[in-house]
């Protein structure tokens, strides 16, 4: 079962290491992790995508709370969030394949951010399934590099 956990932490040196260390020593796997400051520069938000059973997720959250630098934890309800990931994909392209790639990119409302003689770099923002679909379509052209930010998510409506 996939879970997205949003963790507010004090923006201090070593905090990320404490969180990732906790995951490894308790035997939990992180699928993706994104971190950045919030509107308050003293506080950072870490968004964790985790694949775990219900019981484990409860333990993960309780164990995270024990870290002194953790201020607040939210498990986001997947049915009521906006989830995004930004991915840069570099694909091989020549004059023959370029039009086809451009067409796919436009259907996905992705952006071309770099064009070279033999490659195109595409930027796509979206949820996992959208990114996956684009990735699948581009694979036959030869994906040379793929870089992703990790998921970030925000719950809908006024609830924070």
């Amino acid at each position: 079962m996939n879970h997205i956990i949003s963790v507010l932490v004090e923006n201090k040196a070593g905090v990320l290491a404490k969180i990732s260390g906790l995951f490894s020593r308790r035997g939990f796997n992180i699928e993706s992790l994104a971190v950045g400051p919030t509107d308050d520069e003293k506080i950072s938000r870490i968004t964790l995508a985790v694949n775990a059973e219900e019981h484990s997720i409860e333990q993960i959250i309780k164990q995270l709370y024990k870290l002194i630098n953790v201020i607040k934890i939210q498990e986001l309800d997947p049915s009521n969030i906006v989830e995004r990931e930004l991915v840069l994909i570099k694909v091989g392209a020549d004059s023959k394949t370029r039009p086809e790639i451009l067409e796919i990119v436009s259907v996905f409302r992705a952006n071309i951010v770099d064009v070279a003689k033999k490659t195109i770099m595409i930027e796509i923002t979206g949820n996992s399934s959208k990114v996956k679909a684009l990735e699948d379509l581009l694979r036959p052209f030869g994906i040379l590099e793929l870089v992703r930010t990790g998921k970030i998510a925000c719950s809908r409506g006024s609830k924070s």
């Binding site: 932490v9 260390g21 019981h55």
Partner: protein, 569 residues
């Protein structure tokens, strides 16, 4: 405003926290700190190995309830503390460990005696700090003591680069603490407590399971009062021993791998477990899927992460044991006042029967020096009023089984980590914390050799602890497992006659006594208690005596192995 050094500021802050004693060992990166300490009236106990400092601070904390403090230098000094810090972490002992670090400019360069101790200690501390600015010292030290001693207690490490200790700071500099993410729940949810009271009143076969949390929160008194009202038998974990008097008829002593059979059977037959300040360690539960099959669990603990971690919980109450038990007692009284006192005569007589049918037993008629006999004699001759420290292994289990603990903070034993070599330094710390008490280390010949250099610390500082060495010339607990589960193949567990312990203790300036015969046991203990010095009594015990009863690993706790020799007795 006058300026002082960072080192002087550290000492000033420690004074403000009420620190009376520090256990430590100097080294290159803490020379400025030790220079400041030289002018202070804080007592410093110079150990012989940093691990001893951490264990001594731990022992001090266990008997006093105060936060233990230890200091080590950077690199190897800091890494030598690691076992002691991990031990305190597993047993939730309040401790502040201060380590020196290479200068801020050298950090990360693999400088001489550099170790990333905050990284190393992250999994074994409640929290840790690396100081980067002298102005952070007052705030961090204050926070460290708060974190170590509140909520679920634990060790906090402060790593201080040497240049910070020589930097200057205004002597009155103060900074507010900032712990936005730290809010332990102290008061239990009253609705949950009410539900718990009702459930207890309605249960037919309840048992209380009291752990170290009862002792650390100072809840032993209220536990006794609650039991007096509710008349529910009490089982303890190893760390919970002393929370309820073992000489009371409702006490079932310790459960688990080497617990009493009646405690294990009471768990197995119970319909309700009222757990307070325990974490259902595997040494207690045995095979988890068959642990207490008929029982619902009410779990009261200050650490929400413990609730539901190992066993399924029906009614959780997060809060401080003392406050929760106080509320529980008054809610329970209200409930039974309305609905009447539950009749549990049948259960109580069943408990009585279990205690009669399955007492702890050893061969009392043997002419050999039986370890259980030695511990019983220690209990008798100290009138149950001593502080008992233990090493780890058979000695620890015999001490737990045969000494009757009646008061909190009288058993000092390494529970969670099971650290051999804990007892001697912990006894040193305990004696400093409670100089008015007789402090005894019930030791094994394997364990004590891991830290025997601390005999020097004790003698030099006139810390007159009494070491009762149950000497069998084996790493006894492992040998016992090899005998029972590995066809008697004693692989590397025989350490027979490798040192003359009497001469060893004499070399350090203490007194050594040797006991080879049963009839000498009593006199030797008496003599040891009378002599005004550190005394080690070297008891040559029955070499292959095992600790029974015993739950085989992976078995349910209801299935206990007993001494074959005693079958039919």
């Amino acid at each position: 405003m006058g300026k002082i050094t960072g080192a002087q500021m550290i000492i000033k802050c420690l004074k403000e926290e009420g620190v009376e004693v520090i256990f430590g060992y100097p080294g290159g990166k803490v020379i400025p700190l030790y220079d400041a300490l030289f002018d202070s009236d804080i007592r410093h106990i110079l150990v012989r190995h940093e691990q001893g400092a951490a264990h001594a601070a731990d022992g001090y904390a266990r008997v006093t309830g105060k936060t233990g403090v230890c200091i080590a230098t950077s690199g190897p000094g800091a890494t030598n503390l690691v076992t002691g810090i991990a031990n305190a972490h597993m047993d939730s002992i309040p401790m502040v460990a201060i380590t020196g670090q290479v200068g801020t400019a050298q950090i990360g360069t693999d400088a001489f005696q550099e170790a990333d101790i905050t990284g190393i200690a992250a999994p074994i501390t409640k929290h840790n700090y690396l100081i980067k600015d002298v102005k952070d010292l007052p705030r961090v030290i204050k926070e460290a003591f708060i974190i170590a001693s509140t909520g679920r207690p634990g060790p906090v490490l402060i790593d201080i680069p040497v240049d910070i200790t020589t930097d200057l700071i205004d002597e009155n500099f103060k900074a507010d603490i900032s712990l936005p993410g730290y809010k332990p729940t102290i008061k239990g949810n009253l609705k949950q407590v009410k539900q718990a009271a009702k459930k207890i009143a309605e249960s037919k076969k309840p048992v209380i399971f009291a752990g170290g949390g009862v002792i650390s929160s100072g809840a032993s008194d209220i536990l006794r009062k609650f039991v007096k009202v509710a008349k529910i038998p009490v089982i303890t974990s190893l760390l919970g021993m002393g929370s309820y008097p073992e000489n009371n008829e409702l006490s079932l002593s310790m459960a688990g791998m080497h617990g009493t059979k009646y405690a294990n059977l009471a768990f197995t037959e119970a319909d309700l477990i009222i757990a307070v300040g325990v974490r259902f360690d595997d040494r207690v539960t045995g095979k988890l899927s068959e642990f207490a099959p008929g029982a619902d669990v009410i779990h009261m603990d200050i650490d929400p992460a413990e609730i539901g971690k190992n066993v399924k919980v029906l009614i959780p109450v997060v809060g401080d044991a003392k406050i929760v038990l106080t509320d529980l007692k008054s809610e329970y009284e209200k409930y039974i006042e309305k609905k009447g006192i539950p009749n549990r005569e049948q259960w109580l007589s069943r408990i009585k029967k279990l205690k009669e049918d399955y007492p702890l037993k050893y061969d009392r008629n043997s002419n050999k020096v039986k370890p259980a006999y030695v511990v019983e004699k220690i209990y008798e001759l100290t009138k149950g009023d001593a502080i008992i420290c233990t090493e780890v292994g058979q000695n620890q289990m015999w001490a737990a089984q045969y000494y009757k603990f009646t008061k909190p903070r009288t058993l000092v034993s390494s529970g969670g980590l099971g650290t051999m070599g804990f007892g001697l330094p912990a006894a040193i710390g305990a004696k400093i914390g409670r100089p008015d008490k007789t402090v005894i280390d019930i030791a094994g010949d394997g364990s004590i050799q891991m830290v025997s250099q601390e005999l020097s610390t004790a003698v030099t500082n006139k810390i007159n602890i009494k070491i009762m060495l149950l000497n069998n010339g084996y790493l006894g607990m492992v040998r016992q497992w090899q005998q029972i589960f590995f066809k008697g193949r004693y692989s590397h567990t025989c350490i027979y006659n490798c040192v003359d312990f009497v001469k060893l203790v004499e070399a350090y300036g203490g007194v050594g006594l040797r006991v080879k015969k049963k009839e000498e046991v009593e006199n030797a203990i008496k003599k040891a208690l009378e002599i005004d010095n550190l005394v080690l009594v070297d008891f040559w015990i029955d070499r292959e005596e095992n600790v029974y009863p015993m739950v085989a690993p992976g078995s349910p706790i209801s299935e206990m192995l007993e001494s074959e020799m005693l079958e039919g007795v």
